[in-house]
Structure formats: C-alpha cells, structure tokens
C-alpha cells in the first residue's frame, strides 16, 4: 500500500499542518491555544521525519535514524508541554489572566 503514495503527498500535508500550527501560535490570544499551535508544528515536523525515514533510508529496518529522531521529538514535546502549562498556571495564579497580550511584565 505504501509504495503507491508519492513522498510529495506527505510533505505537502506536513507543510500545511506546520503552517496551520504556526498561525495558531502567532495569532491566538489564549496562551494555551498558542501551546496547541506549537504542538501542531511539532507533529508536522514528525511527519516529515518519518516520511523521509521511510522513503530515504537505504534499508528502513536497519537504518532507523529518522524514526528515533521522531521519538526524541515526541519526548521533548511532552517536556515542553509540561513546563509550558506549569508556567501558564503559575501566571494565571499571580496575574489572573492567560491572555498573552496582558502578560507584559517583562516587556517594558
């Protein structure tokens, strides 16, 4: 089944997913929604890594660098989500908002 789908399809899907995620990260006001946009971007990058592993590796069973990299990205995404959400909750406790336009303590 895999042999019938060109690599371009996966790359186009990953590019679209990355762009949707980065729009969410740039344009949302709620800090949690910004974090969700970043998770979408990480997922798009992972699709690219796995697609290049499957299509590019000489022997996908022996050479697993791409899939291992994707595993590390998933781990880092978990760490990033934990720290990010902890920060958001701490800010919500002290400033009573999760709107990133009102969180400007370090800005001026």
């Amino acid at each position: 089944m895999i042999t019938q789908i060109p690599l371009v399809y996966y790359l186009a899907l990953a590019a679209a997913l990355f762009c949707v995620g980065s729009f969410g990260a740039l344009a949302r006001r709620n800090a949690i929604a910004v974090l969700m946009g970043i998770e979408l971007m990480l997922n798009a990058v992972n699709i690219n890594l796995v697609a290049f592993w499957r299509y590019g590796a000489a022997d996908p069973v022996v050479n697993q660098a791409g899939i291992v990299f994707a595993l590390f990205v998933i781990t880092l995404a978990a760490a990033e989500a934990a720290v990010g959400l902890a920060l958001i909750i701490a800010i919500y406790r002290s400033r009573d908002t999760v709107n990133i336009e009102e969180i400007d303590l370090l800005k001026w």
């Binding site: 895999i2 042999t3 789908i5 060109p6 690599l7 371009v8 399809y9 790359l11 186009a12 899907l13 590019a15 679209a16 997913l17 762009c19 949707v20 995620g21 980065s22 729009f23 740039l26 344009a27 949302r28 006001r29 949690i32 929604a33 974090l35 969700m36 946009g37 998770e39 979408l40 997922n43 992972n46 699709i47 796995v50 697609a51 499957r54 299509y55 000489a58 022997d59 996908p60 069973v61 697993q64 899939i67 291992v68 590390f72 998933i74 781990t75 880092l76 995404a77 978990a78 760490a79 990033e80 989500a81 720290v83 959400l85 902890a86 701490a90 919500y92 406790r93 908002t97 336009e101």
Partner: protein, 167 residues
Amino acid sequence: MDATTVIAQAVFIIVATLTLIAAFLTVLVRNVFHAALALVGTFFGVAAIYLMLEAEFLAIVQVLVYIGAIAVLILFAVMLTRGLMQRDTISFNRQWAWAALVISTLFLGLFILILQVPWLQTPGTAIYTDLTPWLGTQLLTTYLLPFEIVSALLLAALVGAFIIARE
C-alpha cells in the same frame, strides 16, 4: 493507475483531509476546550499517517504520549484557567492579519519548493519484519547517549514543572 493505487491514494487523501480539518478547528474555534478536543482529533490523524508509513510503534507512541498525556494535560490546564474565553471574547490578537499573510506566503513558498525538488517517488519494498525489536536495540546501542540525556531532560522538566506550578 490500477485499483490498489487509487484506493491507497484515496485513503491517504481522506485521512489527510480529516487531519487538516481538525487542525484548522484547533486553531480557529473560539472555545479553547473545543480546540483541545479538535487537537486530539489531529493527533489521531497523525497517528494514522504513521500507520500508513509503516511506523506502527511510533503510531502507538503517538496515541499514548500525545493523546494520553499531552492532550489530557492541556485539557486540565484549560479547566484550571476557565472563565476567560467567553462567547464575546475575541480569540485572535491584533497581529492576526499579518500572521495570516506571512503564513500563507510561507505555505505557498514551501508548496512550490516541494513540487520542484525531484524527490524519490517511491520507497523500497514494503517492510515485512517487525520494526520494534530493531528500534529497541538501536535505542540502547547506537543512540544510547541521546536516550539517557533525553530521559534526564524529561525528569528535570517534570520536576521543574512541579516546582513552577505549585502554590
């Protein structure tokens, strides 16, 4: 094109469309709780894409870690900071038009680039061996150092998150 090609490409296009719809909902829906639920849908779609790429282990890890841990964490954070995104609140900040312009330009550029590069069109033969034992061996031999470093990093991040978020 024979029948299997049509079926394979149709399945891919359906899965990709559903994933993208869920991603758009995640970004555009005003209620953050609904956005988090749409995010779960996106994660499922990406797991299906991994299955199509014959990375079964990664698909299961995606469901376990992203849906089981990250999505639940996000849902908890939404519930702990509730009451701020009501019906009348604006969900986008002031620079959203600029962001949309830049992002659509970026997408167009990426798409043209992807179409122009002569990629390998098809992978080798289908994988018939079980990948997971190979992956475990590789993680504990070739990639042992990054594996240990990432475990220490995850521990540090979780302890740090606990310290930041406690009262």
